[in-house]
Subunit: 201 residues, 2 copies
């Protein structure tokens, strides 16, 4: 707590508030204009924060995007617990689809993925983001192994990757629609392959 | 034939030779420097072709990349015919992996995919490229249906998309390695899901 507003309950204080405002502004700018036009001075203006503060704290556009990805991983929803593997994987596929087709989140992810193709630091931050999300959902698969739904030795993280892959392929490569049926089919395909033992290490 | 070299056998003549040289130079430039630095004058220089010719024929960087993608689709290898669905899908997965990990083709694809995220004409050309490739390989699946390996009504193109998806997901999103085992597993997962009826329309 900074102590400048006695009696109010705030999570984190001024430093946390500045970070929240700057990361929101950075996400807005990325979603609207893409990575190439991201500019620390513009982000400071949008966030109503001093330019010096932004430069001192994040240093560069890639530093800011890396912190944004860390925050996105931290703020992401916890995994589903539906009681069945297919239910959990469908919840995961629907969440990924919802994110990628969201008017703000979709362009934001696309911009960061494009930036990662030509910037190593952004690529590292992006890979850490997926690592965090995959580890969050992997226990769905481990629980299915415990319940006897899947063969022992199934690589839980590989099953979770298999759910996301068809959605990202459509978004970034083939351009086919990202409809609800596609999300459900991605979950069903990963589950069928896992049951068949394809992901056993 | 242009008729300026009687007695020599050339496929297409001067216009075709110019196109080949320019598209090769464009591919080299894209692979080395990415889309943002692609420049028609630089491509003309690399191809040893007049700048005016390049501007007149392709008009813009996006026009040139669209033609490059058309040519890549036309020049791509025909599908495998191994006699089994799993054999065919593994051949497809290995070809996609070989392309994406190739020192020239990999960066070229990555550059074009990144460009497609912020340019509608490049995105259209990219989608046409995948449409062509998916249609080339889809008969593997139709033949497997005829042989009784897969349920009737299986969406052949969706099976082919399912083979590529995990490889593109690793390349563009998660950053996990694109090793030979990953390619084979992508084919096995698509086959298992197809056998389970997941891709029946």
């Amino acid at each position: 707590m900074d102590g400048d507003e006695p009696g109010t309950i705030r999570p984190g204080g001024r430093t946390a508030r500045v970070r929240t405002a700057v990361l929101r502004a950075a996400g807005d700018a990325l979603a609207e204009q893409g990575f190439d036009h991201l500019d620390l001075a513009d982000v400071a203006r949008r966030a109503d924060v001093g330019k010096t503060t932004v430069y001192r704290r994040w240093g560069s556009v890639t530093g800011l995007v890396a912190d944004l990805l860390t925050d996105m991983a931290e703020q992401s929803l916890p995994r589903a617990r539906t009681g069945s593997l297919l239910g959990d994987l469908k919840a995961n596929a629907r969440l990924v689809r919802k994110t990628l087709t969201d008017p703000r989140q979709g362009p934001l992810f696309t911009a960061v993925i494009a930036a990662a193709t030509c910037d190593a630091r952004t690529a590292e931050a992006l890979h850490r983001f997926y690592e965090t999300r995959i580890k969050e959902w992997a226990p769905c698969v481990d629980e299915a192994i415990d319940r006897g739904e899947l063969p022992a030795g199934t690589d839980a993280e590989e099953v979770i990757r298999a759910v996301s892959a068809p959605l990202y392929y459509r978004l970034l490569a083939s351009g086919d629609p990202l409809d609800a049926a596609t999300a459900d089919r991605a979950a069903e395909a990963a589950e069928a392959a896992a049951r068949a033992g394809v992901f056993v290490r």
